[in-house]
Symmetry: C2
Subunit: 369 residues, 2 copies
């Protein structure tokens, strides 16, 4: 296997290191805008040098971002090259373009590191599908949010302070919106649902609420009530289709999710035969992410492509009701007043997300039964 | 794939159901001592009717126990049939017979359900080995012990009461020794270490201590000190070889292990690139176990055999020291007195297990840092 590696940042360097220790694959060229020199690979600054090199059969995309990642990956697939990527935004956003293109061209596309980083999550969904139907996927899919919420809960920090700490450790970006507004988790749960259920969820039917408005007073209330707040994603089959959403969620202090520390992930599926299965590990970081990129390369070597068939478009329907903790002008029916906020009577998920869009300063968290 | 199924109990019936819904495999004969009649398979009472049927290419062993399971499985391998089993005692006890035999005969042997039931644990170790070295395996591998310890911790039950509850729910046998004395966990950690490290651990170098002597007063002490007791297995590479043992272990009340409820399992590996990865799910039960048996059958269809090469014999060395909680005549150095028992100064693991053998009424639990 001769590889063209796009990007030489955190993940790209990790992939380079792991691949260089192997005999069954070789990174021939590395696309990198900086002027680098590598002992075992040619550094190039123009993607064409990889695209037009017929000896390169597989492209690893480790640049991140949507553009030019999408153009490069599409061109590589179109040119008959296999593609492995860790880019969840890319695969989620262009699911309806990339999957059909790979199928049409008869090439292999894999993206295990895109959800769960070092966790073999998409690959386990793929394995699971061989024997059972999956009913539900979801969990803690973003290490940045978990780090912030965990430090707020354990150390009593305010949101701003916890975010700063995450930033100083490199767990959060200078502009943390993709993480704290739940966008990263949203990409991941859509991708997971698509693989688990063999569909292509219509993204605008999957609502997302983030953690940016949470305060120390909210967290104090949760602790008093034996609850812990986590950013949790849900994707499930329902009687009449699918439901999918991302929102802060209050879980019991004794639950497995509540015990997830620091920047770890915990992702769960419910299978018809296996029942509940959860996967815990590093959802990001150089070596965990690079590990699953190389796992994908090994699978490409044995002819494995995408995890599930490309399914038809499906809208998520989120009209099931649950109780929420809300702070910030809730005008609906309230069941309890916790001082810092109220607990609502059951509200349909989609209605609560519409209300949150209209009240951008408010904070809400679903209460898991 | 034409299958001979040995045993029609909890697991066997689950396998039968799942396989019958598939087009790529067929259970032709079922060995069952009771007189049953099945619509899609021939019920036989003599193993020879399966062994000597050349049209049967694969045998599923779901009888449990060592004999005649070992004789049947060996004969099947010897006759050129692939074997899938969920029997941890069998594969652990006869590792040095079954693996070489399968290799010699060029047939496939798999046993994913033997560790973790429905968790794809051995199969994930197999996947992991393709890209990284594994440093450590272990965790909560026995649902019966977890159920008993969890109920003692959460409900304040005594050991006898918690055991009775587990028995009444079918989680513990009438003679619970295999579970509560740690034998089941011992089989599983030896098997996991063998696969993870590509060795064959000498079983008598792996000490095991169980939970049968724990009391409500012990558990109360642990709670006061922010600790939770779990039966935890450990297998790891060390600087000069391997270490492996099973013992009650005190973990922090906020840890992931402490949050494992009821009869669930939580198994962990530490990989060089992936770092810590944990797997949570049903370690037993009809459908979870049958699920992984059928996963193995799918893998056999694609030519996958055992998870790791058959490695050389290796002795575990357990001379590393840790602090223990001990009750029952500890005469060594103590660092703290907790009333119900003492906390020792660091003691080598092997020394503590020797002491426990000489003091069969005592209870000890390693304290995880």
């Amino acid at each position: 296997m001769k590889i063209g590696l796009l990007g030489f940042g955190v993940v790209g360097r990790g992939v380079y290191e792991i691949v260089n220790a192997r005999a069954d694959m070789h990174i021939a060229k590395v696309l990198c805008l900086e002027d680098i020199s590598l002992p075992d690979a040619e550094a190039v600054q123009d993607f064409k040098q990889i695209l037009e090199d017929d000896s390169i059969d597989t492209v690893v995309e480790a640049m991140g971002g949507l553009h030019p990642a999408y153009e490069f990956v599409s061109a590589a697939l179109d040119a008959g090259k296999n593609v492995v990527t860790s880019n969840k935004a890319l695969v989620c956003t262009f699911y309806d373009q990339l999957l059909p293109l790979a199928l049409e061209k008869g090439v292999l596309l894999r993206a295990t590191a895109a959800v769960g980083g070092g966790i073999g999550w998409l690959s386990e969904l793929e394995r699971s599908r061989r024997v059972q139907a999956i009913r539900e996927v979801g969990g803690i899919m973003n290490g940045t949010c978990n780090y912030i919420l965990d430090n707020m809960t354990r150390l009593g920090l305010g949101y701003g302070e916890a975010l700063k700490q995450a930033q100083s450790l490199g767990y959060a970006e200078a502009n943390p919106s993709t993480d704290v507004d739940g966008i990263d988790t949203w990409h991941k749960v859509i991708l997971s649902s698509n693989v688990a259920f063999g569909v292509s969820l219509e993204k605008d039917t999957v609502p997302v609420a983030g953690i940016a408005n949470i305060t120390a007073a909210d967290v104090e209330s949760f602790t008093v009530h034996g609850l812990v707040c986590k950013l949790i994603s849900t994707g499930k089959r329902t009687e009449d289709g699918y439901s999918a959403y991302v929102q802060p969620t209050l879980v019991s202090a004794g639950s497995l999710e509540a015990a997830v520390p620091l920047n770890y992930n915990l992702i769960t599926f419910l299978g018809e035969s296996s029942e509940k299965m959860s996967f815990y590990g590093q959802g990001a970081g150089r070596y965990p992410t690079a590990y699953n990129v190389v796992q994908d390369l090994v699978d490409v070597l044995s002819g494995k492509g995408f995890y599930a068939p490309y399914g038809g478009k499906a809208a998520a329907k989120n009209d099931q009701a649950m109780a929420y903790y809300v702070r910030g002008g809730w005008d609906g029916a309230a069941a309890e007043d916790w001082g810092s906020g109220v607990v609502t009577e059951p509200v349909p998920v989609d209605a609560m997300h519409r209300w949150l869009k209209a009240h951008p300063q408010a904070f809400a968290a679903g209460i898991r039964e």
